[in-house]
């Protein structure tokens, strides 16, 4: 069995992920490129006598040093020497997609071009002379329609054939015209002194990148002689062209592509029915665009809340059943520590978090749908004006939207922002966008204190109190995020904003498989969190809530509920909860909430599990219903609201803080985020509670 490594390159929106999924199925592994935090997906498949490993490179338009993604893609090709590079090309948008292919050609890699979306190209009236194009670009070309699984086998065959073919130097190089070629030669001549770099990159490529003022290549530590030559050439070319040489280089590349396409691409019918554009006349209409956007966001929550309630009930019943049956393994009234650990600590804690999995999956499903359909880019387009006003980029909106699911991938997604200040600001405010893990808290609290009355009704569409309250909480988070961004951008992260140059890809029907894989990857992350960090925290919290034990003599003559209260008051956690009570009393919280908040510091959803343990639930009645009843007896609706408010704003979970540290490269920013948000939470909740009391809500 022979092994082949294949790198998959391609523009964003070229269907790269669909091709990768079609090639590798569910058998893929998500990790990170070493040293940087760009997601690396790897998968394998067998074809004939070959075991082929596919590495999904980040989606890029070019291979300059414009973003981390481009550098990562480029370095993978240079350092790892994949046997074949497959460039996924959206053949219905050929010219711009070939721009990346041309740069891959210049890197002299064994190249296969997958002309994806060929059905779309056909319907646009395009036809290709594959043979001729293949000769011009010196690469195998495979027409395919990945979302219909057409051409996958042909692609694998081309990959094997290319891997087996003897490696040869390309005969066609892109000619940059007399003036640029002369300067390239001059630079190349000086490069003899940089032997190592030349062996690694090749002198023509190196000279080209230097002339393009590629930041990464520029900083490789060049000789004075080289830098001098580049400077002279740049200045000379500026005078000749009255434009930056880098623009002329892009110009020549596009010129080469136009030449190749002119000979081998035919537009047989001049069809002008651009469906995507028709949809956009409504979706990003000047009048309708914003209302549609707001409604879509609202539907996102209604869907999560409404469809999620049934599976959630089933899971609650399952965990209730499980704890009753596990408890029955011990004789009735047993004081076994192991029974208490399993039933109260593990089933109560982890189960209480897992029941929210349906909601989280639904939320990720909706987000995956928005992302894959192309609406996410429209959202950035609509929101850029506002985002720009608060000193951010329309693209910042995407990570913030993902933040609705989980702050951790959202912070990772800020990598699409090229400007560091923009990125740091976005990272700092992301936790204010209420994440999926906080949803369990709201879903516990809202039904406990507010009746689900119908507020408004339009036919079968109705707005209920529960959904409305949830919407209010999310809106407060977003509003605070805006205010904080504004403040941060004019103080700590002062400076110019990045340009907004973004493709609006055609709308596409997301494939079921793509959306499911996306949802599963995120859902799995949540489950892993439940299985590891939350399990560990549940056990620690159970121990802290159960020890030290109260002397049985002191419990004589007390009722069952008094015993529980007494036990909790005596425990470690009760001690901490009591200790911070004076601090949290002004915002309407008592030691029980304080105790649960300590759990929420570790992971937001632990708040719910923790409250369950604080109230000694979990044995036979371990459902949210019983907990809600107890909460309603202990607190006012205003306090309930304040709990949600504090959980929304206060210190993000440990995973978020760890991610902030990783993505900003400093503990300083992580601690800044932790302390800043907790202080903000305290201040906001304080005023909310005090004003609420005055208005006697």
């Amino acid at each position: 069995m022979k092994k082949i490594t294949v790198a998959i390159a391609g523009n964003p929106n070229s269907g790269k992920t669909t091709v990768f999924n079609a090639l590798t199925g569910m058998r893929h592994h998500v990790g990170n490129y070493p040293g940087v935090t760009v997601e690396k997906k790897e998968g394998a498949c067998k074809h004939e006598d070959y075991e082929i490993t596919f590495v999904d490179l980040p989606g890029t338009y070019s291979l300059t040093a414009y973003s981390i993604e481009e550098i990562v893609a480029r370095n993978f090709i240079v350092d790892e020497h994949p046997d074949v590079v497959v460039d996924i090309v959206d053949s219905s948008n050929l010219e711009r997609n070939l721009y990346l292919a041309v740069q891959l050609m210049e890197m002299n890699v064994p190249l296969v071009l997958a002309f994806n979306m060929s059905d779309l190209a056909k319907s646009k009236g395009m036809s290709f002379d594959i043979e001729q194009l293949s000769q011009l670009l010196e690469a195998a070309i495979v027409p395919m329609t990945a979302n219909k699984k057409e051409g996958i086998n042909e692609l694998l065959q081309a990959v094997v054939k290319t891997a087996e073919a003897p490696k040869k130097q390309r005969t066609h190089t892109i000619q940059y015209g007399k003036e640029i070629e002369e300067e390239l030669e001059k630079i190349q001549n000086t490069l003899d002194s940089e032997h190592d770099l030349v062996t690694k990159y090749g002198s023509r490529w190196l000279a080209l990148k230097l002339l393009e003022h590629d930041k990464e290549i520029w900083e490789k530590g060049h000789n004075k002689e080289v830098l001098h030559a580049v400077k002279n050439s740049t200045e000379h070319l500026k005078i000749v062209f009255d434009d930056d040489p880098q623009i002329m280089i892009a110009d020549r590349r596009y010129g080469f592509i136009s030449g190749a396409c002119q000979e081998s691409v035919k537009h047989t019918v001049e069809t002008r029915h651009d469906w995507s554009d028709k949809i956009d006349t409504v979706m990003i209409n000047r009048v309708l665009g914003i209302p549609i956007f707001v409604i879509l966001m609202y539907l996102l929550f209604q869907l999560t809340f409404f469809l999620g309630q049934w599976p959630m009930e089933w899971m609650e019943r399952f965990f209730g059943w499980l704890s009753v049956n596990v408890a029955a393994l011990w004789p009735a009234g047993s004081e076994s520590a192991l029974k208490s650990l399993i039933v109260d600590g593990i089933i109560g804690g982890v189960g209480g978090v897992i029941v929210f999995l349906p909601n989280i999956l639904l939320l990720f499903l909706a987000i995956a749908f928005l992302e894959d359909s192309g609406y996410m880019a429209r959202a950035a387009f609509i929101m850029d004006r506002i985002m720009h006003k608060i000193g951010l980029h329309g693209k910042s909106f995407m990570p913030m939207l993902i933040g609705l699911g989980c702050s951790v991938p959202a912070i990772m997604a800020t990598r699409i922002l090229e400007n560091r200040r923009n990125r740091l600001t976005t990272i700092m405010i992301i936790p204010l966008v209420s994440c999926g893990a906080r949803l369990p808290i709201y879903m516990l609290i809202i039904p406990a204190f507010f009746a689900n009355t119908v507020l408004l009704k339009f036919g079968f569409l109705k707005i209920t109190m529960h959904a409305f309250m949830l919407w209010i909480i999310y809106m407060i988070g977003i509003l605070l995020a805006i205010i904080c961004a504004r403040i941060l951008r004019s103080t700590v992260f002062q400076g110019e904003t990045t340009p907004f140059v973004m493709e609006l890809p055609p709308y596409r029907m997301p494939t079921l498989k793509g959306v499911v894989i996306h949802m599963w990857d995120r859902g799995w992350m949540y489950l892993k969190k439940a299985g590891t960090i939350i399990l560990a925290i549940s056990i620690i919290l159970w121990a802290a809530a159960s020890y030290p034990k109260v002397d049985p003599k002191n419990l004589e003559g007390l009722s069952e509920s008094q015993i529980q209260t007494e036990k909790l008051r005596n425990s470690i956690i009760g001690g901490i909860g009591h200790a911070i009570e004076p601090i949290i009393k002004p915002i309407g919280f008592d030691y029980k909430i304080g105790t649960a908040l300590i759990g929420a510091l570790a992971a937001k959803e632990v708040f719910v599990a923790q409250l369950g343990i604080v109230y000694s639930l979990g044995e036979s009645e371990g459902t949210s219903k019983a907990l809600r009843k107890k909460l309603k007896a202990d607190y006012s609706p205003l306090q309930g609201f304040c709990i949600m408010l504090f959980c929304l704003i206060s210190a993000p979970c440990m995973a978020t803080i760890a991610m902030t540290k990783r993505e900003t490269g400093s503990w300083g920013w992580a601690i800044f985020q932790l302390l800043g948000l907790t202080t903000l939470a305290y201040v906001v909740t304080f005023f909310a509670y005090r004003i609420g009391l005055l208005m006697s809500v």
Partner: protein
């Protein structure tokens, strides 16, 4: 020869041809990589609901950019 104007001044529905790109070089590079280079035909398709950014059609695809960046792209309006 018609007047040269910034792309930001082109009204939705109008078409124009790129003449040159002015301004900071890192943005220029990005814009050029996306296919906005001298000689290319551009159609301004629409303006975002809040008045900025704008959407253009170039090389058969849709690209959005802010008016501020568009101002650096010098174009010549096509004569009807």
């Amino acid at each position: 020869m018609a007047d040269l104007i910034g792309l930001n001044k082109v009204k939705p529905g109008q078409t124009a041809t790129v003449v040159s790109i002015k301004g900071r070089s890192s943005i220029n590079k990005r814009i050029a990589d996306m296919g906005v280079i001298p000689g290319t035909a551009i159609k301004v398709n629409r303006v975002a609901p809040l008045g900025d950014p704008i959407e253009i059609i170039i090389r058969g695809y849709h690209l959005s950019l802010r008016k501020k960046e568009a101002a650096n792209i010098i174009v010549e309006l096509d004569v009807k």
